[in-house]
């Protein structure tokens, strides 16, 4: 198993009140799967994504990713796991402004990497070419369309050959036609044995995945 979640809970403390966001979530994801985690806002899917993405630690339970027990790791070790094993794709792209597409894609290689700048450059070019952006290397995000920006973000997510791609509402900021293109791109990547976890509240987007996990009120339904 690539991912094993066992009885994951997350409780936020706001003042004196404890607010449970996840109440014992258990599931597994295998290598090469394309999973959509669906739920309405407030269902706990964002919390689940933060934990899956090693951005946050659960209150209790075990999370194992690629045979590494994540719940025992400290801040720096989590950063290392994020760098090596997780590629993020965000709703609002989160590209660095006034920074070329190429450099945005190179960014994960700057951390915890011993590649020469030439190798980084080569890899970033290859990745952008693979995503059909070979003629947009030096463009700033502001000079690219929404779909192109999201493809740059996907190239950035893929550059370190991560174990999973974690896409949080990747079509939320683009029109439906571009959204379809992005989803087709994910399907295509999935065919190349890349594990993709998609977080969304839209049914027709979730339908692109091969497996659906519904979450409601912090529990899998």
């Amino acid at each position: 198993m690539l991912i094993t979640l066992n009885q994951i809970t997350k409780v936020y403390q706001i003042g004196e009140v404890d607010i449970p966001a996840l109440r014992g979530v258990t599931f597994t994801i295998d290598r090469g799967e394309f999973v959509a985690i669906m739920g309405a806002s407030g269902s706990g899917k964002t919390t689940l994504m933060n934990i899956l993405g090693c951005l946050d630690q659960p209150t209790s339970g075990q999370y194992s990713l690629d045979d590494t027990e994540i719940t025992r790791l400290n801040r720096n070790e989590l950063a290392y796991i994020r760098n090596k094993k997780i590629g993020f794709v965000f709703q609002n792209f989160n590209l660095l402004p006034r920074t070329s597409a190429l450099e945005n894609v190179e960014l994960p290689l700057f951390y915890g990497n011993r590649l020469s700048s030439r190798q980084k450059y080569q890899r970033a070019i290859e990745m952008l070419t693979r995503l059909g952006l070979a003629d947009r290397l030096e463009h700033y995000p502001s000079q690219l369309s929404g779909g192109q920006q999201q493809r740059v973000a996907i190239a950035r997510a893929l550059i370190n050959q991560p174990s999973i791609i974690l896409a949080d509402e990747p079509t939320g900021n683009v029109d439906s036609k571009t959204g379809q293109e992005i989803m087709k791109l994910f399907q295509q990547l999935n065919q190349e044995e890349i594990t993709i976890i998609l977080i969304t509240h839209e049914k027709d987007i979730a339908d692109y995945a091969r497996r659906l996990i519904h979450i409601k009120d912090g529990e899998i339904v």
Partner: protein, 407 residues
């Protein structure tokens, strides 16, 4: 992230906000420039004073006649002529630490050559004067002991007098008139520059002391304004002072318990006094300059805090793709140090330029030492680290989830 890459990222970020970066640097630039200029002027002044003291001669001792006393009422030093030429002769004869000595009898007056006239001091001295003052002849010859004996009307001109009266023409052999007395010019002195308190040492004429005394002052006494002695080495200054004091007390028949009727000053006292004043001034100005540097540092801190807030999302993203807290810390710290460092470099140039302008305007030597440049550079970098640390630390402590969602 490697330091080189971090540096590149920092430079990019600073270039992205050009105006803001330059304005922030300005604080550091002004601070560093002030420090550099102040130290340069201070060191220049110290060197100038040392040179001027050295121009007085080798380890000079100046002996003044004592103060006049009328009843219980005392006047200042030099108000009574208690020193004579014979005292000077006794000093060189009896004191082993003194290598040369000369009496000085001062007169002044209008000097005329053809249609030109000029006013300068005339010093009546012994032929050893040039040795005492460590001064050389530019042309001509010195007068001799026999000139002194017979009070010949010969003189040597200081560079300024030679220029004013002869305007670069040959002056040796010509006759000038001092207070309407004809004097033959037998030599010209080398240029020596201005003295510690700014008066022009080259605006002088020297002549045999006997001539000045008899011809110009019409005096038959051998009273002198000053005796100038040159001591063999700087260590011998104190023993020489004691010895001279003993010789003069004996010659003046002063019984034990009576006060000296002369005073002996050595140049190191003057040097020390002036040096300590200039050092104090420099210190004071450096303190003021440092305060401006601190103000500049606070400017950096302020702008870095703004920058961290503005780039919260960027920080969140960097963390999401694997930046550790210390990577973020380093990134912002390097940015602050680069800001301060570049400001420091510009400040050094500006300070250097200011020092040159001060030196040109005041005819004052200005010394920009490598020490002060190095100090300024290190200082500005330290300011960058010190004031950049808090904003960088705040950035490194951000929660990636909140940072990513920051609007």
């Amino acid at each position: 992230m490697s330091l080189f890459l971090t540096l590149r990222v920092a430079l990019r970020a600073l270039i992205r906000n050009k105006v803001r970066s330059i304005l922030t640097m300005l604080g550091i630039i002004i601070g560093i420039a002030a420090v550099i200029a102040v130290i340069a002027v201070g060191q220049g002044a110290t060197v100038m004073i040392q040179e001027q003291i050295a121009s007085m001669g080798d380890n000079p001792l100046i002996i003044f006649p004592g103060s006049a006393r009328v009843g219980g009422f005392r006047f200042g030093a030099g108000t009574r002529s208690t020193l004579t030429v014979q005292d000077a002769e006794a000093i060189i004869k009896e004191c082993p630490y003194v290598k040369a000595v000369t009496p000085i009898i001062r007169a002044g007056g209008q000097i005329i050559y053809q249609d030109k006239n000029w006013s300068s001091g005339i010093e009546g001295v012994a032929p050893s004067y040039l040795e005492v003052r460590n001064w050389n002849l530019k042309e001509g010859n010195l007068f001799t002991d026999s000139d002194v004996k017979s009070a010949t009307k010969v003189c040597l001109l200081g560079a300024t007098v030679a220029k004013e009266l002869f305007d670069n023409e040959e002056s040796v052999g010509k006759t000038i008139r001092i207070r309407n007395m004809p004097f033959r010019v037998i030599g010209v002195l080398e240029k020596k520059g201005s003295a510690a308190f700014g008066h022009d040492q080259d605006n002088t004429i020297i002549a045999p002391w006997s001539t000045v005394s008899r011809v110009l002052q019409r005096s038959s006494f051998n009273e002198v304004n000053q005796i100038l002695a040159s001591v063999t080495s700087i260590k011998m200054l104190e023993p020489a002072k004691k010895e001279i004091s003993a010789i003069l007390r004996q010659r003046h028949r002063l019984s034990q318990g009576t006060e000296d009727d002369f005073s002996i000053t050595d140049a190191t006292e003057i040097t020390n006094a002036i040096t300590s004043i200039s050092r104090l001034m420099t210190l004071l100005l450096v303190v003021i300059a440092s305060i401006s540097l601190i103000v500049g540092g606070i400017g950096i801190m302020n702008i870095m805090l703004v920058s961290v807030t503005e780039r919260t999302r960027e920080i969140g993203l960097r963390m999401a793709v694997g930046a550790r807290g210390k990577d973020i810390l380093l990134q912002f710290l390097v940015e602050a140090v680069v800001l301060a460092g570049i400001g420091g470099v510009f400040g050094i140039f500006l300070g250097y330029g200011a020092a040159q302008i001060i030196s040109n305007a005041n005819n004052w030597p200005v010394l920009v030492s490598t020490d002060s440049i190095l100090l300024a550079f290190v200082f500005s970098s330290v300011v960058g680290i010190f004031f950049g640390f808090y904003p960088a630390w705040r950035a490194s402590r951000l929660n990636p989830i909140e940072a990513l969602r920051y609007e």
